[in-house]
């Protein structure tokens, strides 16, 4: 299905280099240790009375200081090396082609912005940064793509993200790496990396009931969100042009209206109240499915882009 080597993203290649570094350090230490262990054990075996046992090392502290410092320095180097890649991978400020992933026992559902949906498969274009925004409907899962050397847990009640930029077309494994119940081992799928025009062809060949934003608009109507957020009698913050903007909050801080903010505002509306508004909005927790939530957020995002266009 896929080859393990060479790896398929620049991050994966960096991770493989890190692996080599770790392996070299380990091998060096093990070789030194096993050599000394065997050498001492054999040379100073009780049967070998002729071994020179005079002048034993008495003062131990400078040996201790030496090997403690040596290990400490080596460890700190490895820490920095791994940490820097981790910050790059999971740190803030990601952008890219967004795909929403919903995990549930025991399948992966992916939704593209154009409204295309797939199950246990994820089609992505070559050489584009793909940003997955992942949420779970039930228990904790973990989205694991071994060929890209990355995984991240998908946690119910919140969203996590994961970005990668594939450098080679092909089909790769997708695993659930966090134990999630009976069919955990069957919660697997395929990552299909395609040339860009193949990908576009694939997108347009899918059966779509409107873009994700259009689906979100339908949910928005069904739930009657416009009653307050539209031009009705109840005063609620306007959603047009909201996405990506700073929002002054009632506790004096400033929030950014990003994915997590929008999501939280629907599910836990009282957590962050926009300054100057009453905390009136009811929570939609349990009243809106993960899929619908994603669609509504996509719709609100699309309102921002509409507002940008004159």
């Amino acid at each position: 299905m896929s080859t393990w080597w060479p790896s398929e993203t620049s991050h994966a290649r960096a991770v493989d280099l890190l692996f080599m570094g770790l392996l070299a350090t380990t091998a060096l230490v093990l070789a030194l240790l096993f050599f000394l262990l065997l050498r001492f054990a054999i040379h100073y075996r009780a049967g070998n009375a002729s071994a020179d046992r005079s002048h034993r090392i008495r003062k131990s502290w400078h040996w201790e200081v030496t090997w403690t410092t040596a290990t400490l320095v080596a460890f700190l180097g490895l820490f920095v090396w791994g940490a820097q890649q981790y910050v790059e991978l999971f740190g803030a400020g990601k952008s890219g082609l967004t795909v929403y992933v919903v995990a549930k026992q025991w399948m992966w559902k992916a939704q593209h912005l154009g409204g295309q949906r797939e199950i246990n498969e994820l089609h992505v274009p070559l050489s584009h940064t793909v940003r997955l925004i992942m949420s779970s409907q039930d228990v904790i899962h973990s989205f694991f793509m071994p060929a890209f050397r990355i995984k991240r847990d998908v946690v119910p009640g919140r969203a996590t993200d994961l970005s990668f930029r594939p450098l080679r077309a092909g089909v790769f494994h997708l695993f659930c790496a966090e134990y999630c119940g009976t069919d955990h081992a069957r919660m697997t799928g395929r990552i299909v990396v395609m040339q860009e025009n193949d990908f576009n062809r694939w997108l347009s060949s899918q059966d779509v009931t409107g873009t994700l934003a259009a689906q979100g608009e339908r949910v928005y109507r069904q739930l009657g969100c416009g009653g307050c957020h539209g031009n009705g009698p109840v005063r609620a913050p306007k959603l047009e042009g909201l996405y990506g903007k700073p929002v002054p909050l009632s506790d004096g801080t400033i929030g950014i209206a990003d994915e997590a903010y929008l999501r939280d505002s629907i599910v836990k509306p009282r957590a962050k109240i926009v300054a100057g508004y009453e905390p009136l909005m009811p929570s939609y927790e349990g009243k809106i499915s993960e899929d619908e939530l994603i669609a509504v957020v996509a719709y609100i995002k699309s309102l921002a882009e509409k507002a940008k266009r004159p």
Partner: protein, 212 residues
């Protein structure tokens, strides 16, 4: 039994020291037992400050304060009993310990009344839980912690009462003396600890959100 040390000890002094140290180590364990709850509480209070303040406002601060005073006083009685049993006044000590146990019972009765009030107000997390206003979910979390923490604490109080009664009866029979009184000291340490936990629970449960 009282005047000679158990076989594994050299003398009564060593036995006494061992008993005390054992209790202190046990109390360190207890701190972390409650510590798990305190971490959970702190995390959710950090996440939902307004919801927790709102929910805490619905607790019975009058009963809570009265209960704090009761436990502090019972602790005082126990400390008093410990200090005089060493002088040989074991009869008086027995009375003081019994009084402390009685105060512990009053604490439990008040706690029960408080639970009843909360039950009537539908504040017990479960099917009938109702909490008006915007903070229903975080109030549920608060009351989950409230009931778990106070119930575990009440269990400690109940155990403490039994220990105190047992020690009081033994003291009444003259089991303790100026030379041998380790059980009284150790039981006292446990009772004071139960008191100390309550002091923190009181600050975390009853005091937030009283101003708004």
């Amino acid at each position: 039994m009282p005047e000679t040390p158990a076989f594994q000890f050299v003398d009564l002094r060593q036995q006494h020291e061992v008993a005390q140290l054992g209790m202190w180590v046990f109390l360190a364990t207890e701190v972390l037992f409650f510590g798990g709850l305190i971490l959970g509480y702190s995390v959710y209070r950090f996440m939902y400050p307004e919801g927790f303040a709102d929910a805490a406002r619905h607790t019975q601060i009058a009963i809570g304060s009265a209960n704090t005073a009761i436990l502090l006083t019972s602790s005082f009685f126990v400390a008093w009993a410990v200090s005089i049993v060493r002088l040989g006044a074991d009869r008086v000590a027995a009375i003081l310990l019994a009084a402390a146990a009685a105060l512990g019972c009053v604490f439990l009765v008040l706690k029960g009344i408080e639970y009843k009030v909360e039950y009537d107000e539908h504040l017990v997390p479960g099917y009938f839980f109702t909490f008006g206003g915007p903070n229903a979910t975080s109030a549920w979390l608060f009351f989950s912690f409230y009931f778990v923490a106070t119930a575990i604490h009440a269990l400690h109080v109940a155990i403490g009462i039994m220990v105190l009664i047992f020690i009081a009866l033994k003291a009444r029979c003259g089991a303790y003396s100026a030379r041998y009184h380790a059980p009284v000291t150790v039981a006292g340490l446990y009772w004071h600890f139960v008191d100390l936990v309550w002091v923190f629970l009181f600050a975390l449960i009853y005091l937030p959100g009283r101003t708004s």
